[in-house]
């Protein structure tokens, strides 16, 4: 474990949010969770699994703000991914470029059939994995 780098990241959380803020608490809990769990069991983290890891106290808004921050360039702890689902329990991985294209055109190209999908926002879901920074700290 690269303890020095770990402490640098936690210091950055404190600088950006303040040690007594709920966002700081969420950031630290997610960070600790990513460092403590077996890496092969961190392949698909949803908001649901992150909320289980964090516990009941922080509000959904605080969790949302903190996860957005953890996906950012300053403290890239989480990697953000997208998947498409229009059938229960069937998810298809989307490349970031596919989502970016959909945002700019307003239509998502179905990743399998190639058809245009209107109102795609309801069918695209986010999930998270540990970022390369986490691998670097764990090494």
């Amino acid at each position: 474990m690269n303890q020095k780098l770990k402490e640098q990241i936690i210091t950055r959380f404190a600088e950006d949010w303040g040690r007594k803020s709920p966002q700081y608490e969420v950031c630290v809990k997610i960070f600790d969770y990513l460092l403590s769990r077996p890496i092969n069991q961190l392949k698909h983290l949803t908001y649901g699994s992150l909320k289980n890891a964090i516990g009941d106290n922080p509000s959904d808004t605080d969790i949302l703000k903190a996860t957005q921050y953890l996906c950012g360039d300053r403290t890239p702890v989480l990697s953000l991914h997208f998947e498409f689902s229009d059938k229960e329990d069937e998810f298809i991985y989307l490349e970031y470029d596919e989502v970016r294209w959909a945002k700019s055109t307003g239509k998502l190209v179905h990743p399998v059939t190639g058809e245009d999908i209107d109102n795609y926002e309801d069918k695209v879901f986010m999930f998270f994995t540990p970022s390369p920074l986490i691998s670097e700290i764990r090494s």
Binding site: Q41, K43, H44, T46, Y47, S49, N52
Partner: protein, 176 residues
């Protein structure tokens, strides 16, 4: 059947039946208009969100879990059902082994549980509660589940019994 029944216990004196019925009908209309916005959509503050009850029920020792759907952080989606009517998924060997392998880190999104009701009477029933969430709800920051299916009831006592069990898993501010 697209019908809402308003039932009135009229007792022995049926003389004020129409008056009483109209009072109940007006009270029902007032209640609906107070709870809903346009197109009868529920106001946000009146929604009873049952989603967190799914995981809370699973992690409790209440009832016998006969169906569970959940995701793991390894990326899989699992759906499990018990065939036998008197055993609980929580203690079934395959389920228990899997849960221990991931240190209990699952996110459940659908659960069915039954209870034996009336064990001290001649009629023992097994009313069932299903909280029918969807896996994609786990990707939402605030998943909302408003449906609960209560089945296998022999009468209103069974139904109320299950509603009371469900109430134990939802916040005091939003009881059914």
């Amino acid at each position: 059947m697209e019908r809402i029944e308003i039932r009135l216990d009229i007792g022995s004196d049926a003389g004020d039946r129409e008056l009483s019925f109209n009072q109940i009908r007006r009270a029902f209309q007032n209640l609906v208009s107070r709870l809903t916005i346009k197109d009868y959509k529920l106001k946000k503050e009146n929604i009873v969100n049952l989603f967190s009850a799914i995981d809370d029920l699973y992690r409790s020792s209440e009832g016998r879990v006969c169906e569970l759907a959940f995701t793991t952080e390894g990326g899989s989606i699992k759906r499990e059902r018990m065939r036998r009517s008197n055993e609980c998924l929580r203690t079934e060997a395959y389920h228990d082994g899997g849960i221990k392998a991931v240190d209990g880190k699952i996110s459940s999104y659908r659960i069915a549980a039954t209870w034996e009701h009336g064990a001290d009477t001649s009629l023992v029933t097994q009313p069932e509660l299903l909280l029918p969430g969807y896996s994609r709800m786990l990707s939402e920051i605030t998943p909302i589940l408003m449906d609960a299916d209560i089945t296998n009831c022999a009468g209103i006592e069974d139904f109320n019994f299950v509603v009371n069990k469900l109430n134990d898993f939802i916040g005091n501010e939003s009881k059914t």
